[in-house]
Amino acid sequence: MLAPLLSSKLMIVLIFGTLFGLILGVLPGLGPTTGGALILPFTMTLDPLSAIVLLTAIYCAGTYGGAITAVLINTPGTPAAAATCLDGYPLAQKGEAGRALGMATVSSTIGGIFSVVVLVFFAPLLAQLAYEFGQPEYFALAIFGLTMLASIGEGSPIKNLIAGAFGILISTIGKDFMTSIDRFTFGINELSEGIGFIPVVVGLFAISEMLTQSTLLDQIFNRVALKAVKLPSISDYKKTWITILRSSGIGSFIGVLPAEGGTVASLIGYSEAKRWSKNPEEFGKGSVEGIAGAEAANNAATGGAMVPTLALGIPGSATTAVILTGLIIHGVRPGPDLFREQPDFLYGIFGAMLIANVLFFIFGFFGAKIFARITLVPNKLLWPMIFAVSVCGTYSLSQSILDVWIMLFFGVIGFFMRRYGFSVVPVIIGLILGELVEGTLRQSLVIFEGEWLRFLTRPIAVTFFILSLIALIFPLLRKKKSNE
């Protein structure tokens, strides 16, 4: 598995990706999704394996990096580290920041490695299953992915569905890929090619975050001093090993589902840790179990989210949507054929994720103090620089100034979406899945000679439709139950 990575170039890419991911994870408002989108244009100078190794290293390390900020300044560096704040910061306030970060580092590493094992075993199995899929099955699967996203993702399910439909609508801009009829081009020739993924992602994540940061200038961070990261004691291990394993399983499972990956996984991992704990009263006051539950789960979601991404071409999270784009722009088509035709490439990705988990353990353990200092870079300097990189990166992909306007447009749209409770993640997933949804629907209708009811003759498709219905009804039942 590690053989494809035994080249100095790939190791340098891996180390750079891990360090860059840690920096992105530490900085509140950035994170692996935005960072991955920003670095995507640069990957064009690399070969496909190096490019994906870089993106996966950023993904793994960025997810862990959020914990450093969560523990030291009570602000999650990434949304996936939100649950880590609940116990990480109180423990740091008690003068045990090193212990809190040590627990976060160890549980993140175990969760991450656990999920790579899940990825290695389940991705080929899922790919094998996908050989049975025809166009109707892929259509039903994509619908299932979108409804799961609406159901499990953060915020209102209906608002998530609207955001997902908006993402698919964006994908219809340009020439219809089957008939070459212009749609929503409004006479602008450049729009005939459709809207690129990068301007939308950079706009929705980086530019909208810049606007959000402009509203938070009076925010004051209370920083807790960190002397050194400490490995957990034997008693801490005894107290948390079951929690770490449970959260690793939960995280991997949530990651496989097409939802918001680490964020949801960490919240469920944390609440399950509290439910099963012998000392639930300690939660919220600096419980090491709470830190372990959240951190093992969010890092386990990374490997889980790569399962549908590689096996089916359906992203399991926002960051895997960026990785999927990276695969596509490098000419690698994810899906069952990838497993048959390019096993070395896949083992390279698996190995890169494994090594990235070990690397962020080392860098986190010895360098957390240095990474924590990155948060001292003031937003008034950081965000203008991010803007410059965003603009140039977006422009660089097709050397089109229109892409820059699209990026700014989606930046403003993304800001208002977030302000009024619409998550931007479904827009990205919808944009990625849009062509698949429409293409498979139309090809299915060709197969079915225009008879929609013939979808019901395909058992796998029907199963996905039923699961989609359950995914839509489940949040309503959950809400009704919580109201009662």
Partner: protein, 169 residues
């Protein structure tokens, strides 16, 4: 629901229709979707033999109708449970938004990198940076580093302008 929450909800419900934030948001979504839906009727149609299952306009139409329907449901739910009205947006937000517009105008009329520099110095200054060196850093040094990086490593050619042309010529 606590009494405080109830009274808050009552306050929000008593707002006139057009001042209600959920109404404004849903109105904009429905209006935009309706305009786009109108445009779908202007899409060309293909003969049945070529349409591969459905006409090119059918799928976007279905999506827009879905968005409108779901938006109306969201509005109905917001009458029952009003949205949390967030605090008013600060001036720094509008200044940042205005600097985007200034960037767009400057980058089209004068120079792409001058646009980035102007935006950087405006954002940095109005977000509270007063030290000349740091303003110089974000407005001049960093854009130059970015330019050199993209130009030399990625071999990118940026749009011409009063400064960029000096380099290219």
């Amino acid at each position: 629901m606590s009494d405080v929450q109830k009274s808050k909800g009552a306050d929000k419900k008593s707002l006139p229709l057009f001042f209600n934030i959920s109404f404004k948001v849903i109105f904009i979504i429905v209006l935009t979707s309706s305009v786009l839906l109108y445009f779908t009727f202007t899409f060309e149609e293909v003969p049945p033999i070529l349409n591969r299952g459905i006409q090119p306009a059918t799928f976007p139409k279905a999506l827009l109708i879905l968005i409108i329907s779901l938006s109306l449901i969201v509005y109905y739910l917001s009458i029952k449970v009003p949205w949390n009205i967030e605090k008013k947006l600060p001036n720094s937000f509008y200044i940042t938004l205005a600097s985007f517009i200034i960037f767009s105008v400057v980058s089209v009329t004068l120079d792409f990198f001058l646009g980035i520099s102007v935006l950087s110095v405006l954002v940095s200054f109005f977000w509270g940076e007063r030290r000349i060196f740091y303003l110089f850093l974000v407005a001049i040094i960093f854009p130059i580093i970015v330019f050199i990086f993209f130009e030399t490593i990625l071999g990118l050619r940026f749009p011409g302008g009063i400064i960029t042309n000096l380099y290219y010529n």
